[in-house]
């Protein structure tokens, strides 16, 4: 099983806007997937007006959805949607 692509969607924040990007490069998609899985165990925080991130991770065998708060997502992943 290897990661083919990751779709990153950011919603919420004070402005309540939604933005999406797709990472098709398998190496980068793999790095993001690893970062997302690590971040899933970190504190979600109790922020109001935080961003909400949804990751759709498509592998050779399955499609996985992971939702994280802005407090959880590492800066290098957030930068994909700046």
């Amino acid at each position: 099983m290897s990661v083919l692509r990751v779709v990153v969607t950011r919603s919420g924040g004070f402005a309540g806007l939604t933005a999406t990007t797709e990472v098709d490069d398998p190496d980068e998609a793999e790095r993001i997937t690893e970062a997302v899985h690590r971040a899933a165990g970190s504190p979600a925080g109790n922020r109001r007006d935080d961003f909400v991130y949804e990751f759709t991770i498509v592998t050779t065998t399955e499609t996985e959805h992971v939702e994280l708060t802005g407090a959880q997502v590492p800066a290098e992943v957030r930068a994909r949607l700046r």
Binding site: S11, G13, F14, R47, R48, D49, D50
Partner: protein, 344 residues
């Protein structure tokens, strides 16, 4: 055993005295600090407030600079009473927190976020090109914006009032940040954020612009603000923001989504518009009758964390009746009918 030369019934009478100095001294002498005994004894809400807070209204602002990093709170750059900074974001945060504190103290007799004189802490220059502001449970955090779509988030005083109000909601009804209760949480922040601006400018409900985030959108973005309480769905229309302002003004257009905790920043348009209609219907300044009805509903202890729109609507109608009588009840009920929510 509490001994005093002045009989308790005289102290109890003095505890109701109009002069706060006499009142506070009597309460302190009664030895009831941090208890509700006096308020139960006398049944006076003002005395209860004085007992709970145990001190005079306290404004203490602390403005920090994250210097484009993400460590909070960052370097302390302006404390209460210090001279203005050369940094406009620092001064906007300081002044905006002051305006917000003033609305809560002057109009609702609320002594800061926790009603006990809590420090008001804000951090500016958070992260890089950060298009957001948030409340982290302890303090407010403001980004500089990206400069292309968004200006700095301190630019609009209602944004500052919005964030501080998240603290007030957290200290009171603590509305769950998901689906309808989450949209009510957001709406409460927009309502009091707008009231901060209206009170500071001395504008009546008819005169106010009812915009949230006016000035926040960069110069060439097609839009006037992020949200409009007067006309939800009309604040902007720009492809770079994903198209048109998606806020509904009526329950039939409620957005069902899993994004943004169930569309909390979108569906807030419905209760936002109900507040606008109530304020205009009641007339005068929105922070007077309409503001007091919403504030009492939020802080009165009856609002459940999982409240729905109809439950909140019903509570505001009952509150309007209790505080101001039948005509006010009718005006608030009609406001909710205007967004498709029928109350009894």
């Amino acid at each position: 055993m509490h001994c005093t030369l002045v009989p308790p019934y005289i102290l109890q009478a003095l505890a109701r005295h109009q002069d706060p100095v006499v009142r506070d001294a009597a309460i302190a002498t009664l030895g009831y600090d941090k208890t509700f005994a006096v308020s139960r004894l006398i049944g006076d809400r003002d005395i209860r407030a004085a007992v709970v807070t145990g001190r005079a209204p306290r404004l203490h602002r602390l403005i920090h600079d994250a210097q484009h990093e993400e460590d909070l709170p960052g370097a302390l750059v302006r404390s209460e009473g210090e001279a203005p900074s050369t940094d406009v974001a620092v001064n906007e945060a300081y002044d905006g927190l002051g305006d917000t504190w003033k609305l809560y103290e002057d109009v609702f007799q609320r002594n800061s976020i926790d009603d006990a004189g809590m420090d008001l802490s804000g951090t500016v220059h958070f992260s890089q090109q950060y298009d957001n502001a948030y409340w982290d449970g302890q303090q407010m955090v403001f980004g500089d914006g990206d400069g292309v779509l968004f200006n700095r988030f301190t630019i609009s005083v209602d944004v500052i009032g919005h964030e501080l109000t998240h603290g007030v909601t957290g200290a009171t009804a603590d509305l769950a940040y998901k689906n309808q209760s989450g949209a009510l949480n957001e709406s409460i922040s927009d309502v009091f954020g707008s009231l901060v601006k209206q009170y500071a400018l001395g504008q009546s409900a008819e005169e106010a612009d009812w915009l949230i985030g006016a000035g926040l959108l960069a110069e060439d973005v097609h839009g006037v603000a992020l949200r409009s309480m007067k006309a939800p769905g009309t604040a902007y229309d720009d492809d770079r923001l994903g198209g048109k302002d998606p806020q509904p003004a009526h329950i039939r257009d409620y957005l069902r989504t899993t994004s943004d905790n169930g569309g909390v920043h979108t569906n807030s348009g419905i209760p936002n518009h109900a507040f606008y209609l109530a304020a205009v219907g009641l007339g005068g300044n929105a922070w007077e009758q309409a503001g007091h009805v919403w504030y009492d509903a939020l802080t009165g202890g009856e609002l459940q964390p999982t409240a729905t729109f109809p439950q909140f609507a019903q509570l505001t109608v009952a509150t309007a009746d209790r505080l101001y009588g039948a005509a006010a009840k009718k005006a608030v009920a009609e406001a909710w009918t205007g967004v498709g929510i029928v109350t009894s």
